[in-house]
Symmetry: C2
Amino acid sequence: MTLKELGQRTKLASKILPTLSTELKQDILKNMASNIRLASEAIKVENQKDLDGANEKGLSSAMIDRLRLSDERIQAMAQSLEEVATLEDPVGAITEEYTRPNGLLVQRRRIPLGVIGVIYESRPNVTVEAASLCFFAGNGLILRGGSEAYHSNQFLVKLLKSALAERGVDDVINMVPTTDRSSVDELAKMNDVLDVIIPRGGEGLIRRIYEIATVPVIAHYKGNCHMFIDESAKLENAVPIAMNSKAQRPGVCNALETLLIHENIAEQFLPAFLSEADKQHVEIRGCAKTQTFSEKVVPVTQEDFDTEFLDLILAVKVVPGLPAAIDHIQTYTSDHTEVIVSEDKEHVETFTRALDSSAIIVNASTRFNDGGQLGLGAEIGISTTKLHSFGPMGLRELTTTKFVVTGNGQLRN
Amino acid sequence: MTLKELGQRTKLASKILPTLSTELKQDILKNMASNIRLASEAIKVENQKDLDGANEKGLSSAMIDRLRLSDERIQAMAQSLEEVATLEDPVGAITEEYTRPNGLLVQRRRIPLGVIGVIYESRPNVTVEAASLCFFAGNGLILRGGSEAYHSNQFLVKLLKSALAERGVDDVINMVPTTDRSSVDELAKMNDVLDVIIPRGGEGLIRRIYEIATVPVIAHYKGNCHMFIDESAKLENAVPIAMNSKAQRPGVCNALETLLIHENIAEQFLPAFLSEADKQHVEIRGCAKTQTFSEKVVPVTQEDFDTEFLDLILAVKVVPGLPAAIDHIQTYTSDHTEVIVSEDKEHVETFTRALDSSAIIVNASTRFNDGGQLGLGAEIGISTTKLHSFGPMGLRELTTTKFVVTGNGQLRN
């Protein structure tokens, strides 16, 4: 079957999805989970083929770790399917309703986006996560995984499709059968089938898809996250919030990368913070003022301010006040997450209004910009572009709305 | 100034817009309107230069008509600015608010998209319409009009900017100073400045921009609108609704193009409808069954079902029932507008759920799929792609939301 045929089949099959009841979709998700639990040994056999191939190719141990489906990860995949089944079904919700002067009743109703393409790299659990969210939100799904995870992905999709087949809708999820690079190019231009492409992977993949795609793309670039410690900050809050934001999991997009400190609080804040950072092995790259507080501080460069370290490294700068902090953030932001630690309501309001990143957080860790933490239930990614969805994307962000207009013979004149 | 510099200036200036008060934005809109009223004679002088050029080039009279700024059209532009000033300011609205178990208060707040590029063809009033909506929704705007309207557009932008300059924000609206084709190409790839491009013009322009753009594009393709007359339809409704949909203004996207009729009502409906269509000079291209009711009916082709006539021509087909009607529509739809005329609640619900076009209308004219008619106040276009906005786009559709998360020291663990 050609990719074009696969696309058409998926699109045709997906037409039925908006009319499926929530209960039916929940049953299918639970059956998918059960298929995965029952087949866990077989999954590991298929996964081992990929691991062997990865070892032969000499992939890095980090890459091989991402590829591995342990018992724990297999259980987590099954659980994620069951969890999505407990979330609110977004499809069909009436988001707005009003009557026009001529008596027309106008509603906006939530509908699926249509068919979603997910292009991803090495992690095979993305197969299951993407399938659960896209399916429950009523969308057809075309998956295109990485070549390293070929056997794992093919087998996982088979298990998912078997639960769909019991209800006669197996074609709503399909996996591209090859891992040729050309299949990415073809998907990126398949406007007659795909309503959106969501790439999951490194910056290289994402940039390439943006470059070639005529289908709309929602993606997540980088998280160059900032925090401003205002002069009114409570010290007992400020140090733990900054440390948690940097060090709790430094390799993720919502970790802190640059810390800005009001000069009036630098004398109190910096000694306590630098000592804690030292304990937790965080390298500090600081401005001249920051350097006066510790010999271990490395001079910071302009490039550092532009860098998503994804590591135990933090850029630090003392600023004369809130406007300078806002200026700095507006210059270097990647529109992901910005935090203010402050007890001054007016400053909090100014910061919150002036900056339009996907999450503005007041007196808490950057690490809360996450679908699960914000109560979205599950996320398919964090969008750093403003169109359609900005920030963590859950089920609702995989839908759109249509107008439903009910009259009794109204005409235009 | 290069286009790149113009873009950077617009982006920088637009940073202030989210913080402007509603009152200030309203004042600016009213001053823009007043500038246009006061300069109406000068506008006509500039417009005449474009009209002279168009005559020299031998443009069609339809094209020249679109270009012309009569007194009436100048007043209408001023009025549209004043009307936008009376609409609800979308920026800053809290669209959702809840508290997480850990005490974090989560809000979603409406924010501008950022900087919008509007690329359009001959109608100079688009300059003012786009400016009023984009500005009031807090967005920077880069306009790129057609070469035929060069003098009119430049002068209108000068009048708009003069009202912005009084408040020191004149750089939030800029016009590309040239009408080279290369400026469209450059805008289409200006991802560091533009958050979205909205093309306003013919299918050729739109397809070209989709093809080359790396910036997200929201556009409106064609409106191949359908109507299904169910067996339970009230005849006194069905004939006027179908005629109004086809003939009230046949050249627009929300005019009816294909009429589907339940075979059980064909005997009652078609004679009355065909007689009315004849009176209003509508050419009917019908199926074999339709042809039995009048000699004037031309045989319909598959291609007709795929055509947006934009003229007094209508494709007509008698179908065995609702499922066949839904099948036909799913095959030929352009996702714009579909109408059912029916008194059967179950059929209405089935039709409404099965079809995901931008507007599903029950017992009223297709012509109500329009921002003004649906109460959006004003529209910048009708999106036929599902991402971000589906259907008429008003002020709210020119915004997105960010998360604002307020805590008192919460950390991730």
